[in-house]
Amino acid sequence: MTVTASKSHYQSEEFARRLRGRYAAERNFKIAGIAALALASLMLVVLLTSIVSKGYTAFQQAQVRLEVTLDKAQVEERNYTAILRQALYAQFPQITDRTGKRTLNELLSSGAPYELEALVKQNPAIVGTTQTVWVRVDDEVDQFVKGNFSRSAPESERRLNDAKIAAIDAMVAKGTLVQAFNTTLFSAGDSREAEQAGIWGAIVGSMLTLTVTMLLSVPIGVAAAVYLEEFAPKNKWTDLIEVNINNLAAVPSIIFGLLGLAVFLGFFGLPRSAPLVGGLVMALMTLPVIIISARVALKSVPPSIREAALGIGASPLQTVTHHVLPLAMPGILTGTIIGMARALGETAPLLMIGMVAFIVDIPHGLTDSATVLPVQIYMWADSPERAFTERTSAAIMILLGFLILMNGLAVFLRKKFERRW
């Protein structure tokens, strides 16, 4: 009876309509989800395309081949500029007037003499001989070779005059002016000349800063979380501390910079622009993030684990260090790495402690002057030369690469050590 009744119920028009409605709602929900995902991916693609299309050319730099005669007297005088110029003039025997020669001089990077000097220092035996060397050209020549300056514009609207373009074309045709991988970008510190500027100084600065941040904020953060979650009594004081930690996580980062200026520079007298101070400030900034994520990870360990450990006679300390903490580790690591990634991209607090500065030398220690990757990007973005536009994008790509690496590591560690109950 009931079967036939319900059968007739299932076959009813009303039922079929409601069923269709529910399927439609589900389908629409799915479509909305896919649309949201597609929109997000589209924006990401647009962002990445714009950065990559502007920046990929920075990984190459035009170089010129010169047959330099390393005259002993000139080397002793350190007159490498003259040596290079003579080699360049030799390629253009038809140019003899001063203006023409000056045009040629402007083709070479102002760092080229130092490149040659470094070469001579490395191998003093080459003094007195003729050598084939590749030296970098000026950033404007480089931009022209890459096609970033319009050739069709009238001469008065161009950065390079006709004589210069003729010389460049002649050298490109002869094969003495070619583009090669831009090693400088990865090995040098900052420079006012785009062709000599690199991000290695900023990368080292970022690594030193993050090392200090990690060494301070992880142990302190985890210890604080363990105490608050596993040992602390629940009372007014711990509530107050919890509210304050949550509050600190939302404080704008510039405030931590001001604190660093007053405490670390003002009171402790630590040096300006030092990665040590940067790391300390970043550690203060990431501590609340780590404490909160570590507490969540500890909370997610089932109470049965603790009860079992205590039940077979483990002390509370043993329970935490032998069982709870290892099980919570994947979550803690994820939170830590996300906190570090945020610190890697931060510039505002560093402004106050002098890390937003022109620094050429690669830092070698925690108290050497240094800057960090995002600051370098900001400073290059501010430079008017077109060559810095592509370098800015290239530096962004490198920063994104580091962020992807760190977040990838977080995902990997979570997948590897995660325990499901």
Binding site: L215, P219, T321, P326, F358
Partner: protein, 350 residues
């Protein structure tokens, strides 16, 4: 399971050692082997270029240069003697008496002054337009928010240049210039607006109070006569080419780089050339200074050598690398005298 315990102990030990390291380096901050400079953003491009060349010499570390603005830089500079304080301050104006007193109060009694050269501000226009000669008084009348008419300050009535002076072109007043955040704008306000205003005697008659007068003099009109462009000078050049009647406000270095596209208006009959600026004939120019703390010479390595590099002919000379960056050098004799006194660390006397 024990490993995690060891891990914890190790991490704690590392954290402790970092803290200890921090404390010890705090004590080590007493010595520093790298020159530190702070100050003006106008001088920043020159000092960084010198710092880079100095560092490439290979004997010393490349100095660290922060761009803090002239006032902020001198404040840091005058805060005291010792490695915790900067050695050099860049300034786009001469140090004030009050600042020298502040310095002295903190023990910075001997300062060497380097006058590195000049910066000029130009009112430039498209090469396609006919030549125009301006005066600071005309500029002020064209750009002030309120001008005196019949003994009263009224909203600027001038729409065309020819309204101010019949000899000027019959073109709408349109000056494209930097926003108030820019250092070029500060200089323009001081040298063109304030000085121009002083040459209009009616203003003094209408506003008796000096402070109020100065404020009125430096307030720029907001009815479209002055167009605030971004800091991107390339954009201003494009606009000037599209509209040959318009003027743009630029620093000298930019004009120097774009003489093929722009020309600078004559100011009170004086053309903008490096020679006229250096001789003090061109009005919209200012000297640029670098101040060095004498007490740090011999303590921080390389200070004397850095001064030598900054005053060398290859840097500030007529064909020096700083002129490539847009610095207007001082005349040769002045340079040589300045070089000698700077290398000998002759203290500044105000």
């Amino acid at each position: 399971m024990n490993t995690s315990k060891h891990l914890m102990t190790a991490a704690a030990a590392v954290a402790l050692s970092v803290a200890v390291l921090g404390a010890t380096t705090g004590a080590q901050a007493q010595s520093r082997d790298q020159i530190r400079a702070v100050g003006s953003s106008t001088v920043f491009p020159f000092t960084t270029a010198v710092a880079e060349a100095f560092g490439k010499g290979g004997k010393f570390k490349t100095p660290v240069i922060e761009s803090t603005g002239t006032g902020g830089g001198l404040k840091l500079f005058c805060a005291g003697v010792g490695p915790a304080h900067p050695d050099i301050a860049n300034a786009s104006r001469r140090i004030k008496k009050s600042e020298v007193e502040q310095c002295a109060a903190n023990g910075v009694t001997q300062i060497t002054e380097l006058k590195i050269g000049f910066d000029g501000i130009a009112l430039a226009y498209s090469k396609k337009a006919p030549d125009v000669a301006l005066t600071t008084a005309v500029i002020w009348k064209a750009l002030a928010k309120e001008v005196p008419v019949n003994g009263k300050m009224v909203a600027n009535p001038y729409k065309k240049w020819s309204d101010i002076d019949a000899k000027l072109p019959n073109e709408e007043i349109e000056v494209i210039g930097p926003p108030p955040t820019s250092g070029t704008r500060d200089t323009f306000n001081e040298l063109a607006m304030l000085e121009g205003c002083k040459k209009v005697p009616e203003v003094k008659a209408v506003i008796a109070d000096e402070k109020a007068r100065e404020k009125a003099c430096m307030t720029i009109r907001e009815d479209g006569g002055y167009v605030e462009a971004g800091e991107n000078d390339n954009l201003i050049v494009q606009k000037l080419n599209a509209n040959p009647g318009a003027f743009g406000v630029f620093g000298y270095s930019y004009i120097d780089q774009n003489r093929d596209k722009l020309k600078a208006a004559k100011m009170d009959g004086v053309e903008l050339t490096a020679g006229n600026v250096a001789a003090g004939k061109y009005e919209l120019s200012r000297p640029l200074f670098v101040y060095v703390k004498n007490a740090h010479a011999g303590v921080i390595p390389g200070i004397r050598e850095f001064i030598a590099e900054y005053t060398a002919e290859r840097a500030v000379g007529d064909d020096g690398y700083l002129t490539d960056k847009g610095l207007i050098p001082e005349p040769k004799e002045a340079r040589e005298a300045a070089r000698t006194s700077a290398i000998n660390l002759t203290p500044l006397q105000l």
